[in-house]
Each structure stands twice: as C-alpha cells, then as structure tokens.
C-alpha cells in the first residue's frame, strides 16, 4: 500500500514532470514576440522571433502584411498596447508561411524597416505619409541607415535615464473601499495615499522620470483600471502601496510581493485557445471593449515580467528591512489581482500591519511614512542602477 503521504509525493512528482515537459515542449515550439511603442514621430513595431527570420513585406492602404517563412505555427506573445497608429494584429496561415497582418488606424502610412541582431528582431516604424517621404515604398539603403542611426540615438537618449521613463504608483483602495482598518480608526486607503503622494514627490525630485499616480485623492478605482492606467501610460515600473492586516495580533513588519505564476496549465490552455482562434485573438487585440479575450490577454501581461518583478521586490524589501528595522518578512509571491494585468515589472509593498496597534500608531506618524518613502525610493534607485541600465 502506498501511504497517502507517499502518494502525494508521487502526485507532486507527476505534476512536476508534466510541468517540466510542458516547459521543454514550449521551448521547442517557436514563438514570436510582438511589441508596439509610440515615439514622437512614429510608432514602432518590434517582431522578435525565436527562430531564424526570413520575411517579406507587403503594404496595403491601412494594413501591412509580413510573410514569415515557418512550417510550425509560432506562439504569439504580445503586450497590451495603445498606439496612435497601430490598430491591431492578425495571424493567418499561408502555404509554407504565416502572415502577420498589422492594421493601422490611419490610411496612407509610410514605413521603414530594419533588422537587428542578438536577438534577431525585425523593427517596423510606421508614420503618417504626408511628410516629405515620397509616399510608400522602401526607403533607400542610405536613408534607411540614417533613419536607423537616429532611431538608435533616440533610444540611447532614453536610456540615459536608465531605460526607465515612467513609474506608476498605485495607492491601494480608496473611495467606497477603505481597505483594512486599524483598532484606532486608521484606514488603509488614507495611509496608502499619503505614502503614494510623498513617494511621487521624492522620485520626481531625484530621478529624471515621470511619475503617474493611479489616484491622487480619495476615489474608488477598480483593480483592472489601475493596471490599465499603468499600461496606458507605458509604465516602466509599477509599485502598489498597501497596508497589511492579519488575524494574528502579533503580525508585524514590511513585505514586498510580486505576482505568483498560478495555474500554469490554465494559461497554456488559454494560449492554445488563442492560437486556434486567431480571429478572436485579433478581436481581442483591437478591444477596448470588455470582451473576454481582451481580459485574458491583459490577465497574462504580468507573467512576462516575473523575473524583473522579483528583482524589484528584492531591492525594495532590502531597503525596507534596513531603514525601518522591521522584522524581515521578506519577499513573497501571491496572485494579486492588481498586479496580474500590468505590462511591466510590478510589485506590491505591504508597508506595515494596521492590525498591530504598535504599527498602527507608527503609520500615523510622519517620520515613519517618510522612512517608508525613503526606503522604497532607495530600492527603486538600486533596481535602476543594478538592472535597468542598458
């Protein structure tokens, strides 16, 4: 007889084996990463295949077709985007190739393209046609080179601020939703907002970045909209500020969370679904509707950034431990709703326990809030120095 414990070990082993084999299978399956970013004069689409790239480009009036030679259907990985020019993507099978359709919001666009190595990327820049570029068609070799150089110098300028341009701070709860409550009447939403506002000030004074708050006053905002605000603003880092609460009276200290990778098989199933239903996939990409496919795509956005998110959580937690001398509760993973749709490294800081009267008292003092702000700021700065410099 197999004891229940052994049995569980066996099951766990089987699950692990399944997951591992899934991972290796997904590595064999080719994939294609798509990203869209708007610049002042153009919108850039970057196509990053996991396989040797051989392609052809055809231009229509409000779309572009990129024929990509490959036998197996590649998996598409795409971040949510909001672009002036790019409307949506589509994906269809041709003979021994697949066609990526890029639809534009404007008619008569012009474009440039170039290929970068390491990793191989096809970069397509879309701009409105009315400018001096003599209509459509491919730019000459030289024009291309100069365009490429200027694009690069632009990117380099940006990375002067270490690649981080926009930080979104999300003070938890608000409005109708007070969040956790302290014994002496302290409300999570108030402390989170106070810390968020201070943090915005400190970051803006010290770093050349834009800081966006998901709320600047006492209003209700849905968890999905908080992620949407981050993505709409092309957030490079996302920090949600919360105050913790526990059933344990003694619970105290700071914790920094990042999203846990849950239900891996579910995600695989969703991906498979999208691959098999490219039409709906496309619909989903267009969608500013509440359409389910859109939600699924947004739902998965954070899973591409878990590694960076864990590093950000670590650097922030390090400083919190150091500066606050609160007990190290360390970094943790949990399926936080607000983090799941954010398309950049994202963490949730639980500053202290409002359920602990001692910490509730601290949360009402300016020095404690200032210390928290300084710790988070230093953590951010360390993260940028260590990991975000290119």
């Amino acid at each position: 007889m197999v004891s229940p414990r052994k049995k569980r070990t066996l099951i766990t082993g089987a699950v692990l084996f399944f997951l591992l084999s899934f991972v290796s299978v997904s590595q064999i399956q080719p994939f294609l990463k798509l990203s869209v970013r708007d610049y002042e004069e153009f919108s850039r689409v970057v196509i990053e295949p996991s396989f040797p790239l051989s392609f052809e480009i055809d231009k229509g009036s409000s779309f572009m077709l990129v024929k990509i030679s490959i036998d197996i259907r590649p998996r598409i990985q795409r971040e949510p985007f909001d672009s002036r020019i790019i409307k949506s993507f589509g994906w269809t099978k041709g003979g021994d190739y697949y066609i990526l359709t890029i639809r534009t919001k404007i008619r008569d666009f012009s474009y440039d393209y170039f290929v970068l190595d390491n990793p191989t990327r096809l970069v397509l820049d879309f701009s409105e046609a009315d400018e001096e570029s003599g209509g459509e068609g491919r730019a000459s070799e030289r024009e291309m080179q100069s365009r490429l150089d200027s694009a690069f110098s632009r990117e380099r300028e940006e990375s002067a601020s270490q690649g981080i341009q926009t930080i979104v701070i999300d003070p938890g709860h608000g409005g109708m939703e007070p969040g956790a409550l302290g014994k002496y009447g302290t409300r999570e939403k108030d402390v989170a907002l106070a810390i968020g506002l201070k943090l915005k000030d400190v970051i803006e004074k010290n770093l050349p970045v834009r800081v966006v708050l998901t709320r600047e006053n006492d209003v209700s905002i849905s968890l999905e909209n908080r992620a949407a605000i981050a993505n709409y603003n092309k957030s490079d880092l996302f920090i949600s500020i919360h105050i913790n609460s526990s059933f344990r009276k003694d619970a105290h200290g700071s914790e920094t969370f990042f999203l846990s990778r849950e239900a891996t098989d579910d995600e695989a199933r969703r991906l498979a679904y999208m691959e098999n239903n490219p039409a709906e996939f496309e619909e989903g990409i267009v969608g500013d509707s509440e359409d389910e496919i859109t939600m699924i795509l947004w739902d998965m956005a954070q899973s591409a950034y878990l590694k960076e998110s864990s590093l950000l959580a670590e650097t922030i937690q390090e400083e919190l431990n150091h500066l606050l001398r609160t007990r190290n509760r360390g970094i943790k993973q949990a399926p936080f709703k607000v983090l799941s749709g954010v398309a950049c490294p994202a963490v949730l800081v639980e500053v202290a326990f409002i359920s602990n009267p001692e910490e509730e008292r601290k949360l009402n003092t300016e020095w404690f809030k200032n210390n928290v702000v300084e710790a988070i700021y230093r953590g951010l700065e360390n993260y940028i120095e260590r990991y975000a410099q290119r």
């Binding site: 344990r248 849950e262 509760r329 326990f353």
Partner: protein
C-alpha cells in the same frame, strides 16, 4: 468474616474514590487543554475503517509564526467525498480546539460545496466572509489557503479550489488576492 467484609468494603471504597478522582480530575484537565493533548499534530491520516470515522487535517494560524498549523478532526468516513469535504470546511470554520487562530470572520458560513470531475472544488461562502473580513493581504492569504490546503490535503479527488461568494464569482475578498481562478494548494505555508 466481618473483618473480611470490612476490608472488602474498604478496598471497594478506595477504588471508588480513585475512579471519582480520575473522572473529575481528567475533566478539569480537559477544560484547561480542550483537545486531548495526547495526539500531537500527526499529519498521517489513519487507515479508514468502514462505517467508522476518518481523520482529516485542518489548517489554522498561530501567533508563533506566519505558517498554517495542522489540527486533526474525526469525521464520518462513510460519507461521499463532497459531504466529507463540506464537513471539513464546517469544522474549519468552527475553529481550533487547540487555541490556534481561525482565519475566518466568526460569521462566515459555508453555503454549498461541489467537486467537478476535473478535481476542482467549488466552495461557496456566505457574504459575511467578505463583509466581515479584515481585508489585508495577509488575512486574505490565510483565509484562502486554509480552505484550499484543508481540502486538497485531505481529498485526492480535489486538486484545486475555486472560492465563490453567495454563489457567484468574486474578484477578491477585500481588494487583494485574485479569486477568479482556482487555487492550487500551497504546502509551503504549512508548519512542520
């Protein structure tokens, strides 16, 4: 003969006194430590006997650490898995007999529980579990994983747990942990 009788009566009296003492003293002891302390948090479920009870392990919080602590309960073994699972959650809501902390608002009630063929248990709680909840991340995590672990640990037919409130899907309990997907158990949270 008379002496023999006195001795016998005396002996019986002493036995009676001892029995009474044992009876009452053990009663007092039980009040101090509600559960029989003889059973340590042994996690191995006992072999099932037909028509008998089986033991299940419930998971509670403790002031000692941030982990979930196991506590055994006996439930009828001749019930269906669903009824056993229901009873397990009801016992969990009733709280610990060893002084552990219950990660539920006392008003919380189990409305319904069912298990799909794919091994997902749908656990439907009354709205009190949301309205009376502490609404902190740690509190939400404890509530959710005491339910998820208590079910997945004891029942091979349950792999994942989906939490419903008043029969409906809900985004979160109090603004933090995503309830819109089923949870796998987190055995890392269990104290050894």
């Amino acid at each position: 003969m008379g002496r023999m009788r006195v001795a016998t009566l005396g002996f019986l009296f002493v036995v009676l006194v001892i029995l009474v003492a044992v009876f009452f003293l053990s009663g007092i002891k039980e009040k101090v430590i509600p559960a029989a302390p003889a059973s340590p948090p042994e996690v191995e479920p006992l072999p099932m006997q037909p028509g008998q009870t089986r033991s299940v392990v419930l998971f509670f919080l403790s002031e000692e650490d941030t982990l979930l602590h196991p506590e055994k309960r006996e439930i009828p073994a001749d019930l269906s898995v669903v009824r056993q699972a229901k009873q397990t959650i009801e016992e969990l809501i009733k709280g610990s007999q060893k002084g552990y902390i219950s990660p539920f608002p006392p008003e919380a009630k189990l409305r319904e529980l069912y298990v799909t063929e794919e091994g997902v248990a749908y656990v439907d709680f009354s709205k009190d579990i949301v309205e009376k909840h502490l609404s902190g991340s740690s509190a939400e995590i404890s509530t959710i994983f005491s339910v998820v672990n208590s079910l997945a640990y004891n029942f091979d037919d349950i792999e994942k747990v989906f939490i419903l409130i008043e029969g409906r899907e809900r985004e979160t309990l109090g603004g933090h942990i995503n309830l819109s997907r089923p949870f796998l158990p987190l055995y890392d949270l269990i104290a050894q």
